[in-house]
Symmetry: C4
């Protein structure tokens, strides 16, 4: 005897568990296009640097723009709290390991200064680069329109979990449709992981949806709160929402997979599973140009009562250009990410990112580190 199940539980998959199947036709990598468009803004590389203090400073955002991608500056981080953010970031990077979280909790208790926000945006814009900034939903009404007035080209509204319907004690929460009337730039919103929420967000009129909650193996949001969905499944589900919304309305709202992408392989898998672009942390924290000087930390790490994640040492592996375009003698997939994507598109027979969405994907046993080694020339 067994009653009706209390609930159905389906299997979700992460990057390490899948692989891309080569296509029925192959094409030369030099015939592929990796272009990504967000409501009229076009990137030649579909890669966005995460709004993390150890990664996106104004100068990093400028360099990212030169390389064809986009860097998102966090308007609630060190850049908006200190006159000399580089110095504070250096101190954070050099604090002893066992004091790092406590020190961060202190650093991030300094107030956000709206005057600094304008200055930082100006630093980016004056160098001729596109400027993308991020705010949390709770601060959006206060900081978002101000940032756009100061010249921001893209607004990212992002928290661990964002929905179109949020309940709080404050008289009236953030309503995305109202926000869109106030700002005249593309708005990306996230993070979400499910079909329903992605669809509801698209229905508010936003221009891009950021996908990913607790995906990383050591993303401690999942360890601390149990919440998280592996990225392959999250991406597939939100891509499904995008297709249905597109079929119904004719408006194509790209999805950006954020979190857990470490190698060219992860990046290719995200796109094969339906992402239009990816948001990367660690790989860019390893760039010479990143202010963290080989360290990285998440924006939930300094949470005063419930910190999730710690500062980690990621090392410096090369210039941003090398990381994105090579050449390299590294063989672990962490450099020449765009070369890897074009090579993958060639093997899959995809001329565009949109073609890549049709690639076959299989569930495959995790890659282990022991030494099997066999490759043939392309």
């Amino acid at each position: 005897m067994r009653g009706s199940p209390f609930k159905e539980i389906r299997r979700a998959y992460g990057f390490d568990e899948v692989a891309i199947v080569p296509g029925e036709v192959t094409i030369n990598p030099d015939q592929t296009s990796t272009q990504f468009s967000l409501d009229g803004i076009t990137l030649s590389a579909p890669v966005i640097a995460s709004a993390m203090d150890a990664i996106v400073s104004p100068s990093f955002a400028v360099e990212m723009d030169k390389q064809g991608g986009l860097g998102v500056m966090n308007l609630e981080g060190v850049q908006a709290r200190y006159d000399d953010p580089d110095e504070v970031i250096s101190e954070l990077a050099e604090a002893p390991d066992d004091e790092a979280t406590e020190f961060m909790q202190k650093v991030y208790s300094a107030p956000i200064r709206e005057d600094l926000i304008g200055e930082r945006i100006e630093e980016i814009k004056s160098n001729g680069a596109k400027c993308a900034v991020s705010v949390t939903p709770a601060s959006t009404k206060r900081l978002g329109p101000a940032a756009v007035d100061a010249g921001a080209d893209v607004l990212v509204v992002q928290s661990t979990v964002t929905t179109a319907r949020h309940t709080s004690k404050s008289a009236r929460g953030l309503v995305f449709s109202e926000l869109l009337e106030m700002v005249d730039v593309p708005v990306m919103v996230g993070n979400c992981v499910s079909y329903e929420v992605a669809l509801e967000l698209m229905e508010t009129g936003v221009h891009g949806v950021v996908v990913g909650v607790g995906p990383g193996a050591a993303c401690t949001t999942r360890e601390v709160t149990g919440v998280g969905v592996p990225q392959v499944t999250a991406t597939l589900d939100c891509a499904s929402a995008r297709e249905d919304y597109f079929a119904r309305t004719g408006r194509y709202v790209p999805i950006i997979t954020d979190g857990g992408i470490r190698t060219g392989g992860d990046l290719c898998k995200a796109i094969a599973c339906g992402a239009d672009a990816v948001m990367l942390g660690t790989p860019f924290a390893q760039a010479q140009e990143a202010p963290g000087k080989g360290h990285n930390w998440g924006m939930a790490s300094p949470h005063p009562a419930l910190p999730r994640g710690t500062r980690v040492r990621v090392g410096v592996s090369g210039t941003l250009e090398q990381i994105l375009y090579g050449p390299t003698s590294k063989t672990d997939g962490t450099q020449n990410l765009m070369g890897a994507l074009e090579s993958c598109m060639g093997m899959v027979g995809a001329f565009t990112i949109r073609d890549m969405h049709k690639a076959e994907v299989v569930i495959a046993p995790s890659i282990k580190t022991e030494g099997k080694h066999h490759q043939l020339g392309l």
Copy 2:
């Protein structure tokens, strides 16, 4: 050619294999309620400290009550066998590793003294705290009513595996419906793991059912006897029994998931899978207030012929208040358990524990320790 299968075997899941999916709406954590009720006794925190000698002394039970939870004192442990239990627990904690099991076997061969039971209950009650005590089924008739007469507010009847129907050579075993006529306090019974047994226990009239047999990764009951069910499946199955029983009778019998919960994430998953409250061992053994001083051992460890589990060093991580409510600079989920639960409820959009039962849960690959790290601010 293949005959009819000898038996069907279904897949069962543990905490490490699942994750909670954020909800369609989100709410602010400060709008959630974590209240738990057991037949009129109400806790503001749905957490119960296991009836283990290294955890629940009378003073720990008092502190637990202050913090909104409940500590269960074991009436067959050191508290009921020695005039100075603290000293014996200290000796147990300090015995050399290779002698610990043997030493325990000796310590637990001392007789249980009914006079001490009354004293210990009085220690708790005189401090104004609720008093919960546990007995094994074999001793229930002898010790249970006496404990209630001495002032116990909750009676827990607990063994590795408990059913409503037990056969022994003694003329007449424990019948729960008869016990309930003898004692006038809420009775929790366990442990069980299946729909059938949970349902049968509920039908005897008990007020709560404790769920969990051999769930922990190193719970040696499974290694020694092969018996055990991973906690997610056990919780789901017993929750299913609770719902069916409630639908049929209108009486709501809460289930308490016991075993294998180490982090806020585990706790949240247990509740998302249907638990009304959780029973914790290790996290409370790590409290400064616990008599084990950073050690813990199960009540099956000293079994004279078939010991299961050993004394383990768990360390002291903070005060009970920090463990339950923070603040903390620990990022591994072992502190601020209630903050984690409220944060999870916010992301799931659950105002109450009962709402949390509707959360979507996915099977997700186990969290590994290697270093992926990416978090965003909530």
Copy 3:
């Protein structure tokens, strides 16, 4: 487009992947019976010691009989090749690691002497113990009847893989039905793993079927040749054959699961999956009475051209009596195997081995070694 599948592949399970679900009723362990019968020969403990030179010497077989089980002496091992087998076994146990396989290949090239077989059987019989001996199919006609004439009580015909139909260049292979006319003792045959082969073997009239090919994690038969079936599935499939054969003929042919059983938990799982008895190697190689003095090796290890498995150091953990019946202070399931079985039967509510066959079994994630620890008193 995808063609019809080349072949169907089903999932098979091993001991580490399953767990036993407690029953709807429980009984006191002292009310259980673990008796096993093989065509009139009855054992109080359903455990058989593998025909390995490091385990079963004549004196070990006598001790095993005293303890209620059965030890099988290998008639093609050292006992049948050397006047002083104990000395040879000591030399084998002490050879340096990197020379062990080569040394074994040499030792096992000495001829089998039929006179020694008679002597060894007499050593066992003169001590009042039951005598079980094993031969490979190729030697059965030559050695089997001779062993029975010398007093053997049970004949085990065993090779890595045995079927009722074997093709070789020799004029005429072993036909089990003919063998059964030549010897008047119970005959166990194996090893097999599938429904079909188990059924065909039963139809030849043999009295017991030994189950298991390449089950162990490091059994190198699987590594070397790819052949093997995890033991849970092998046992379930052969149990299914036993049931169908019994339903059709009324003759009950017990199955004996052999290989991969290390702990009480493994033993209980084998029986819950349909085994009537188990054959154990390592746990008995760890007995003080075993001639290997803490070492063990398989009979395929010395294969001259294709050795599989090596000599391993298993250590000496206690007397045979302790291993089977305790008492013990070990908590890892390697001692008091029969106590573990009785405890399991109690939790499952099984009075007999036959009742244990009805236990529910679930697929559960593998037990890992990290430190979760939570047990409650039985």
Copy 4:
């Protein structure tokens, strides 16, 4: 609410996840035949050495022929670029670890000289051995016919991913049906992994199809680009194409599984899953006769912009004869590969490779390294 799935994802399997089930009949290994035929060319051993510079030199190809197998010489490697390839290979083998990839990138930038190709082929042919050579699709028109004119007996056209339809900017790519009119020797083409591509390749008229993309655990093609299919599934799918093509046309196009085979067990599994022959790298790189002197590297390792895989130290384990036929005292499956195959065929009851295709295969938990050890004599 959940939309229609964005795409279906099926589970794929690798060697470590499956095992071969013994057959209903068994035969003596000396009655088996392991013969493999490729359009009239017959090998007594179905094993082909990969076209890797660390493995197949002209002298290695001669030795491989003597042992009944086939070695493929790479016409785009060191043999075709340098007058003294042995010296260059030695230098490559001895370069410091951290410079190996860069050094390789340099070595492989030297031009391919057609005069050297003729010389190397002559070295093989003059020793009376069959000569097999490999080229990439892009070089096939230039190098293929020339090699055949110089005496090559088998032409292998091989790249990481090959399809019958490739798009490039050059006016006209390689068309296999046209190639087959130009060369009068058997042509093997690969690598592919899917039913569709294998079938399309067969339909062009080629004589053999090589199967395998990114199968190895550390094959970094999968890590770098995300592309790859575990070998068991790839082999099953391509075998399905072979059967359908054979049923429709009467022409039998053998498939050769390439990549990830390390042990006799892997080899047997590949054949049980439908391979007609296997292509091996590492096991032959370990032969005394291999020019890499205990090192190995893939042909994608020196890719100038996107290297995949590195030079690895594999050690020297014995002569080629020992690796293929033993005798050995190694018990890990890396030696006596043909003895392992014959032993497996005996247990499965397969007289021929074609019979092996009918073997039952199960999904079995991965072999772990911990110490279970139990074998019985065959």
